[in-house]
């Protein structure tokens, strides 16, 4: 803008300068022309007087620098000329100024020289003796004058141009400076030309719109990142070249990656075959779901293509941690397999005994013994099925029992009473310690849990061992512990004894009996009752199981 203003100013001033100079020259030239004519006229008049008085001798002492003076006789022959040899000059009678002087007494003529660079003005006057006195003066023509003046005029022009350039630069800067100093952040506060105030108002309005939209966008971005950062599912957004556009920390966590480089390929996070196939499939436009194993964890990848104008421009991958689900599935599968196995063993025995009896290989006196064995195995089956039913009921969480006020101490006493017989057989003595603790709970389940704990304590005990049940009614907690002096549980197995069908000593399970579900029932029952199960054990010294309830104040 400054440049443009500068150029305009320069152009205008240069134009004005040139045109003005031209006009002035024209006027001056004209003025000087008429001035010369006047001078010639008066000079001729003075000379005429002196020539009339003194004759031709008056012209003898003319200074050399004077104008050209010619004296012409009446017949046209030249009598005198101060700049040329008069005798060699031709007859002048037919010259324009001479003819005019003969006719009117005075005459004047202007003639261009051959080179056109000069023009000569002649002024002639007839003297009283008939002779004609002619004075002439040369003047430069316009072209010559211009030629002569070009240099000084160029100097002047140059000076003018420099001056005007200086001024133009300053002026244009001054014009533009208010526009330059506009504060575009706050256009309405700036004082500038009235002409641009509508523009400023518009800028102001647009700026407000932009600010609003920006803050909207920022808020949306924040909302989005809060949502994605706080969800446990991993989210990956990739473009058609598999480059990573966006991700959340859960995704990195699930893929076991420490950090992702922006715009790196998503394959740098995981390059397993199934993941590659998923990415390829989704980028060919197919909705894909696949499972991925990362270390010990499993994660499901749900991939959706992003389509724009029916072309795949990228994909959104959702990663869901399904480790627990898979583990539970495995557990269930294991449980089913275990149950079938446990059910099959007694059934095979029953079937075997029955077959032997059927085939008549058994002596009549032994029939009772065999029937007893079949009965034992059937009892085992019933116990097992009962335990399975209990555990699946606890699993489902839908039990047909009501809560009631229960005294833990009394309940423990009853439980020990029920186990007196088996304890005697194993030569284990039972003790009950502690105080009464009455609270509201589901009695049948508590009974079941206690029974299983005490039953185990007796089963896994040494002969002459002890089982001590202690009920404590503390300030904040109620607890019941079952301690035995039995074989104990190795620390490596302590975490697993609550698993279904888990046995520390797999080879002797048959001798001890039980279904392998006892502690599993304890764990699930305790969870149902809202109690914590604690286990302290040392191999060879015994184990202590404790159930703890927090008291609600």
């Amino acid at each position: 803008m400054t440049k443009r203003i500068f150029r305009s100013i320069m152009l205008v001033s240069a134009l004005v300068l040139v045109i003005g100079l031209g006009f002035i020259m024209g006027i001056l030239y004209h003025y000087f022309g008429s001035q010369i004519e006047k001078e010639l006229k008066s000079e001729t008049a003075y000379l005429a007087i002196s020539v009339e008085n003194m004759g031709i001798t008056a012209l003898d002492d003319l200074p050399a620098e004077s104008a050209r003076i010619t004296l012409i006789a009446e017949d046209g022959s030249v009598l005198f000329d101060n700049k040329a040899d008069a005798s060699k000059m031709e007859n002048h009678s037919n010259r324009q100024e001479v003819i005019a002087a003969k006719l009117k007494g005075v005459g004047k003529a202007t003639r261009q020289s051959d080179t056109l660079s000069e023009k000569t003005i002649y002024y002639a006057k007839q003297l009283s003796n008939g002779q004609i006195l002619r004075v002439s003066s040369t003047q430069y023509t316009v072209a010559a004058l211009i030629g002569e003046l070009v240099q000084p005029m160029l100097y002047v022009l140059l000076m003018m141009v420099v001056l005007s350039a200086l001024f133009a630069a300053r002026i244009s800067k001054k014009i533009v400076s208010p526009i330059n100093s506009l504060d575009l952040d706050q256009p309405e506060r700036t004082e500038a030309y009235d002409e641009i105030s509508p523009l400023l108002t518009k800028i102001n309005k647009q700026q407000r719109t932009i600010r609003r939209q920006l803050s909207d966008a920022r808020r949306q971005q924040q909302e989005f990142s809060i949502i994605t950062e706080n969800m446990s599912e991993g989210l990956l957004v990739i473009d058609a070249q598999t480059d990573l556009l966006s991700y959340n920390s859960s995704a990195l966590h699930l893929l076991d990656a420490t950090e992702a480089q922006a715009h790196a390929s998503v394959l740098s996070l995981n390059r397993s075959e199934s993941f590659q196939q998923t990415v390829d499939a989704v980028l060919s436009g197919k909705h894909t779901t696949s499972d991925l194993q990362i270390g010990e964890n499993f994660c499901q990848v749900i991939a959706n293509p992003v389509l724009r104008d029916k072309e795949v421009t990228g994909a959104v991958l959702l990663l869901v941690d399904i480790t627990e689900k898979i583990q539970r599935e495995n557990l269930r599968r294991e449980f089913t397999a275990n149950v079938s196995h446990e059910l099959k063993t007694p059934l095979t025995s029953i079937s075997g005994f029955a077959e032997i009896i059927q085939d008549g290989f058994v002596k009549p006196e032994d029939i009772n013994k065999f029937a007893g064995k079949i009965f034992d195995e059937a009892q085992r089956l019933i116990a097992l099925v009962g335990d399975v039913i209990k555990i699946s009921q606890l699993d489902e969480g839908c039990l047909p029992y009501q809560k009631e006020e229960t005294d833990l101490y009394t309940l423990a006493k009853e439980t020990l009473e029920r186990l007196r017989e088996p304890a005697k057989r194993k030569q284990v003595s039972l003790f009950l310690e502690g105080e009464h603790a009455v609270f509201n709970t589901t009695r049948p389940i508590l009974e079941e849990v206690l029974y299983n704990l005490c039953d185990n304590a007796i089963k896994y005990n040494h002969p002459d061992g002890k089982v001590t049940v202690t009920v404590l009614n503390g300030k904040n907690t109620i607890s019941v512990s079952v301690a035995d002096t039995g074989i104990g549980i190795p620390s490596t197995d302590q975490a697993r004894v609550f698993e279904r069908f888990y046995r520390v000593d797999k080879s002797h399970s048959k001798e001890i009996g039980g279904t392998g579900l006892g502690l599993s029932i304890v764990k699930h029952g305790a969870a149902y009752l809202g109690a914590q199960v604690e286990l302290e054990s040392c191999v060879g010294e015994g184990s202590l199981f404790r159930l703890v309830w927090g008291k609600e104040c």
Binding site: S265, S268, R271, S272
Partner: protein, 223 residues
């Protein structure tokens, strides 16, 4: 122009990741083949080897195109030249995995593999390959260094396997042919470990600009 170059570099990166992943799968399958006498596995590994060869050519083309069209300098040039070197090592890993898979049926039928530490060797080698590809993917100097170090483990294991085989042959309770097959497989694993080290060294070169062999030169020059 620059973004186009970056895109091509990224493509090179992705293809290298894919090739590395293929190698990992091939060697994992080959190791599995030592346990399972399935013909399928051998075929699968052979197919994978073909795929790896194809990937090598593909990556080579990308590198050449990058070198000719973009005339990269400094770090970019290093990355591309390292990639060119790396793929030949990866390709060798693929070949050797296929060789192991070829031997696998004879080894399985002799049931000798449980008597020597070939499985430990396989596991250690797979770990090395995984680590070296990880080092490349993450551009991680430390990981690359750990690959170079763990080569000793594989070398030791190779010597152990060799000693165990020697004992078995001496005691004459093994089919010597199967023992030789196992020795071959062990040697292949050991070679794969060396190639993994090479890959890791090229990763180091692409990051630091100094290759292991250069260091030796520098050292000898100083002396």
């Amino acid at each position: 122009m620059r973004t186009r170059f970056d895109k091509q570099l990224e493509q090179l990166h992705v293809e290298l990741i894919k090739m590395g992943s293929l190698c990992e799968q091939a060697i994992t399958l080959a190791a599995q083949a030592l346990d399972q006498p399935e013909r399928d596995v051998v075929k699968k590994v052979a197919a994978m080897e073909g795929e790896i060869d194809e990937k090598e050519r593909e990556i080579e083309n990308i590198c050449m195109r990058l070198l000719l069209q973009q005339q990269p300098v400094a770090r970019d040039l290093r990355i591309i030249s390292a990639a060119l070197k790396m793929i030949s090592d990866l390709e060798r890993i693929g070949d050797q995995a296929a060789d192991i898979a070829d031997l696998a049926p004879y080894i399985v039928s002799s049931s000798i593999s449980s008597k020597v530490q070939i499985h430990d060797m396989a596991a250690a080698t797979i770990r090395m390959v995984t680590l070296s590809v990880d080092a490349f993917v993450k551009n991680d100097l430390e990981l690359a260094e750990s690959v170079v170090i763990s080569d000793d483990i594989v070398d030791d294991l190779f010597n152990k396997v060799k000693g165990e085989l020697l004992d078995l042959i001496r005691k004459n309770n093994v089919d010597p042919r199967a023992a030789l097959d196992i020795l071959m497989a062990a040697k292949y694993f050991e070679r794969i470990g060396d190639h993994a080290v090479n890959v890791a060294e090229w990763v180091q070169y692409s990051i630091t600009g100094i290759h292991k062999s250069d260091e030796h030169h520098l050292d000898t020059e100083k002396e």
